[in-house]
Symmetry: C2
Amino acid sequence: MEKRFDKIIEKIREGQRFLIASHVNPEGDAVGSLLGLTLVLRTMGKDVTPYLEDPVPGIYDFLPGAETIVHDLKGLGRFDALIAVDCGMKDRLGDMLNAFDHGGLLINLDHHATNDHYGDLNVVDADASATGEVIYDLCRAGGIDITKEAAINLYVAIHTDTGSFRYSCTSAESLIKAGELVRCGADPSDISMRVYENYPPVRFRLLALVLSTLEVIKACGKGHGGDIATLTVSTDMFDKTAAEPDQADGFVNYARGIEGVEVGALFRECPGDEYKISLRSKSYMDVGAVAMSLGGGGHARAAGCTLKGSLEDVKSKVLGVVNEAMQKSCTP
Amino acid sequence: MEKRFDKIIEKIREGQRFLIASHVNPEGDAVGSLLGLTLVLRTMGKDVTPYLEDPVPGIYDFLPGAETIVHDLKGLGRFDALIAVDCGMKDRLGDMLNAFDHGGLLINLDHHATNDHYGDLNVVDADASATGEVIYDLCRAGGIDITKEAAINLYVAIHTDTGSFRYSCTSAESLIKAGELVRCGADPSDISMRVYENYPPVRFRLLALVLSTLEVIKACGKGHGGDIATLTVSTDMFDKTAAEPDQADGFVNYARGIEGVEVGALFRECPGDEYKISLRSKSYMDVGAVAMSLGGGGHARAAGCTLKGSLEDVKSKVLGVVNEAMQKSCTP
């Protein structure tokens, strides 16, 4: 049995009233971990309030317990503990929650390597693909039952944070724990359908326009595996399709998804003569360093920056920097 | 230890020369299972020839051992056994192999429920998502080592046959075995990138044109979850983009992937005043029955048929049948 959860499990067993919260702008791991832990504690007979400062994205409405999430702290009284899940910084719990006196312990369960251990008790596991894995481990460590409803939530947490078991954070443990959650009752195909086949039609109308801008540039002397692919989204395209800017999220993956391409770039026009640039690389280019040199940031395989200017100028600037970095990594 | 593999493991241990083969038109499970078992047996010191009648699709060139696959049986001599993997019918091994006298036992390892047990020894496990799972089980049953190279192949087999762990065949065991294969050395993100992010640019140029034909039709009285979405690919689009017809494979999933849509349909124009229609459903419509009533066939969630006529006529015929079936399933 794992020792790292001992103190937290003891406090959960002792307490009765719990407030559980996750970060603003919640995604799958935030909502899934929040509700997974909420349902696990309710099965233990605890009185649990799940809190999010921001609304839950519509695709997660189907998650068991989603209807019990509150967005207002008024009149909630005192708790034995506030448990923060998937929240790398205390600030990201939201202003209202940070100003709220919950009166109890602060427990911090997370997987972000940058988490500064802001809790009274902390388990931060940077090797976990998702906080959903950390909560799974907590249940196993405490011999705590995972119901079908809790399993669905924890499965969604792992499934979304690993991009359907495709991102580099996917470990043997991510897959094995997901399998165990299926044994507990989570349905992998039903969940995939609800999470990944639930787009508004307008997303695909926008994608049609964006894909027509595809350019593939031979960038690297090596030939194979050194190309750059670009896509562009203009404000005009948003106007034509009546799509919101967030409907272009993830489109950069179509640029990266081309054979021989190492770096995919998406140029999204924003109001005020500005472009938001998303960069993705496949296997060796550090696009985080590229983005940083352009005033942005991110990780080695996923990064971004914002630049002012015309599309022509912005593209030439970004591609110049990418090209230079490519050439360096490609010298024989 | 599993008894069902006892006899097969005994024959493998006793023998020295093995011919392993899979079906014509090989996909991920065929190639991955073929090479996975080949490498496993080679590690046991056996002399193994992996055979495919058809060429290996380019995206699987990276699989360890792929360069040792032969497509010609001339001068190969006699074998202790021919092991057929992922091949539901003996015929599908190909004409050349079926005419070849291998001189030994025929062992049949598969997961197709329709497999007629054509081998001298058979393990057909219809609960397995992929034959890759069956070979994994065989190794575990025999205490046989799975090297990193074999693990990559078996992972690809499971990964592709489950559609990245999204199809309804995905079980707890699929995920847990995939996790164990990662422990053996398979890299989930590297494999995903090679298999799912390796498209020719022309596929996305074609997709841009196809997505512009998207229509969403309110079909079911229930309102939510009963819509039909259609996409059309014309021969004109293939001409414009210089794309081959198989580049439209999978586009029907964009139609199904829309919120509120139960049935997605893709109409692909073929030479000779003909349309190939692909149908996909999300959760309750039996599109196999729809396709069958139109002279085609398939499964409940994935089916197809071919019809002669103009696009207008063909669409109206297919949508009429789908609509009728929808209305029946939607009556309160």
